[in-house]
Symmetry: C2
Subunit: 449 residues, 2 copies
């Protein structure tokens, strides 16, 4: 990484760097175009996907890994301590390595290159066949990656036994974890319209059905102040908690002070760690995000908005589906609107949806990562789920039908999309060891048990 | 009015024009500075108040009139059919006179000048003493006018018996009216804050008390979909409807189709004309205007806003006072927030307030205007109230303690602040006659009955 370069240049440099490195390390490597994107009226090529493989031994398992070489934009003047595109060790000697992409996701990608380099330098054969897929559009919605996976399902990706992605983080700053689930999301708009123009509340207040009154009442019926979803049928869809899950949640290293410091005070719904973790990872949640079309600026405006859109989303967990939840939501909103008896018009629309994802945490790939974590860190990993979505995981899982292990390298305080993103030297070194050890444990794992 | 001039130049020209005209018509006239205003870092003088008087006969009544010579900004390219600062008769011969200020408020001011001119040309003495006050800041909140009235209470304004303002409009397009009331307004913010930064709903949805959930629930408890204010104690403050008032409302010329065409469809709370008119003029109303701090743009954002301000206002009518209503509102919001049991913080704040105003519609000034309307238009005037506020009315009423008659000249469809503002030739001519006739009826009226 060199100083004073933009993140666009950085992206191009990274693609070239990866191709060169992978080839020097004895892997086949190709740069594959994945289409173009319209930017300022011009068609520009999307950053390519770099695919690479080492080994093709039918006696070995084949591990598929994914990473991304693109990063979030960064400028020194945003508040960075050092040049964001120049990896800078903390001069205070804390071991923090500052730089854009240090933890998201160049650091973990370099971890895998380090593993390959060590094997090459020592002249040791890899214990598994490896397929690697590195994209350059992750921070921009992984455009076209799904089509690429689909097109190479029976080509490049054929024969993979399982998959490992290192693109998330530990829950805290000291406990390694394996991540086996992601919540999905359904995003909705309740659209209420009535008058054909905005009205003055002096002239029309008290004479018309005001769209905001209808909307606020409907939005108030979606979720309780305690965070309970009030839409009938949704809670009933939640998969029952198994004994194994309960144990995994109880074992997670987590204190209420962790979340209190993350949000700036005690505003948590519960004071119980397991309830809080389940609230974040295992249960659906409903958030009211805002209203489009109403007055939203500083100050006062005496408007009766004629058309308003209330925005909310529901985080999905097994067995909530985009379709099943939407049926309940739309039915409920329509019924509640009917009760209001308003002459306005109401429509409830799903604007986008993403299914939840969960992997079998007892799969041999997870067992291998569990053993590797114990070997490298001397402690049992937490089994976590992410509250948010990582859409690429879902694409790989759905199209290739593989077990996917999310094996984070960085810590919860790395600040992935923030200024002064960092990775700790210890996480970088032990993270590299973890990936290498996982590879050996995977090779040794019993597929059938 | 000449073409291609800006509304700032227009304002300066109008002040000079008024001074010159008034003096030529035999009135004393002065331009009085009323302070400065900071604009782009510079102190600029506010447009002066023009005060003028004719006659000082202790045997005559003294009538105070008010008008404003400033107008809303206007540019041809805003969508005007003709140059906005050039009065243009509709070439189709409808009698409409297009131009900025034609109805708001230059037309009515010219009406008074026409009355004076006719008397001068005919060599007839006015039947009343007249005091005139024309300001140039009405469209910008009448800055400093209250101080000016206060300072001249025992000076220029001393001795006035009653006041007439022609700066509002008929309710419809065919029925002259006298306006004897204005609603006031209390504008509030409910401010909820909790986390110290905006949170991602994927990571924190389901774990924290979300300020939006609390706010939406509180806002939903303020007003029913039928427009009923749900805050205990507010409805109880409404002055009972007297028989005289009921009759005045029943006599108003108004059809449901008038309001349906004004708002673009049938979204009215009631299908009854008297209920609708009372909803607009005689009852308080509560409108939810919007939320500051939440997501309000087009599209989707999965944010949990950390601090939100819900904005609403209540239109005030007798006997609702700024203070009395605010006590009920703040108490209620605080009690309802307590019921929620949230760990967030809540504050309900009055951001501004304006008292309602009502005049005695049986005052001799109203009786004079009633007779004048019957004489000029051959029909009984409607007695209306405005749903919105005209703060200058309140200032004059409070400081001078006079009965004020709002005597509109223009029609309900004049489009006062819109493009293609107009006054109908018939309203301009008969309006002038109305003002003159009112003056004679006022002179003849029995003060004591």
């Amino acid at each position: 990484m060199s100083g004073n370069i933009s993140y666009v240049d950085d992206c191009e440099n990274m693609a070239k760097f990866l191709l060169k490195q992978l080839r020097e390390l004895g892997a086949t490597a190709e740069s594959r175009p994945i289409g173009t994107h319209t930017l300022d009226g011009k068609e520009v090529p999307l950053p390519p996907v770099i695919i690479s493989s080492i080994g093709n031994d039918p006696k070995k398992k084949t591990l598929l890994i994914y990473g991304h070489y693109d990063v979030q934009p960064a400028l020194k003047e945003d508040g960075w301590l050092y040049e964001p595109f120049e990896l800078t060790p903390d001069p205070k000697g804390t071991g923090k390595l500052y730089g854009r992409g240090s933890t998201d996701d160049k650091g973990p990608v370099m971890g895998w290159l380090n593993v390959l380099e060590a094997h090459k330098n020592l002249g040791i054969e890899l214990p598994v066949n490896m397929k690697m897929c590195f994209e350059g559009m992750e921070e921009s919605g992984s455009e076209n990656l799904d089509k690429f996976i689909e097109s190479e399902k029976d080509g490049f990706f054929a024969g993979a036994d399982c998959m490992c992605i290192s693109d998330n983080y530990w829950l805290d700053t000291k406990t390694p974890c394996l991540t086996y689930g992601l919540r999905g999301i359904n995003y909705y708009e309740i659209r209420i319209s009535g008058p054909d123009r905005d009205l003055h509340s002096g002239v029309f207040g008290g004479t018309v059905h005001e769209p905001m009154t209808d909307l606020i009442l409907l939005m108030s019926k979606l979720v309780s102040p305690e965070g309970q979803i009030l839409i009938p049928g949704v809670k009933e869809m939640i998969a029952p908690v198994t004994e194994d899950e309960q144990k995994k949640f109880e074992a997670i290293h987590f204190e209420m002070s962790d979340i209190h410091s993350a949000v700036g005070g005690d505003v948590t719904l519960s004071n119980d760690t397991v309830k809080t973790l389940m609230g974040r990872m295992r249960n659906p949640s409903l958030s009211l995000h805002g209203i489009e079309g109403a007055f939203s600026a500083v100050g006062s405006k005496t408007v009766i908005p004629c058309s308003v859109k209330g925005k909310f989303s529901i985080r999905l967990v097994p067995n909530l589906t985009i379709k099943g939840v939407t049926e309940h939501v739309v039915k409920y909103v329509n019924e509640e609107f009917k009760k209001i008896g308003s002459k306005n018009r109401c429509e409830c629309v799903l604007t986008h949806g993403g299914e939840p994802w969960i992997a079998d945490p007892n799969h041999y790939s997870y067992r291998a990562a569990h053993k590797a974590t114990e070997a490298v860190y001397g402690q049992t990993p937490d089994y976590t789920r992410e509250g948010g979505s990582i859409p690429v995981t879902l694409d790989f899982a759905n199209i290739l039908g593989l077990n996917i292990l999310l094996l984070p390298v960085g810590r919860g305080d790395d600040g992935a999309h923030s200024t002064n993103e960092k990775i700790d030297t210890d996480n970088y070194i032990r993270g590299t060891k973890l990936l290498g050890t996982y590879m050996y444990e995977l090779a040794a794992a019993d597929k059938s048990s």
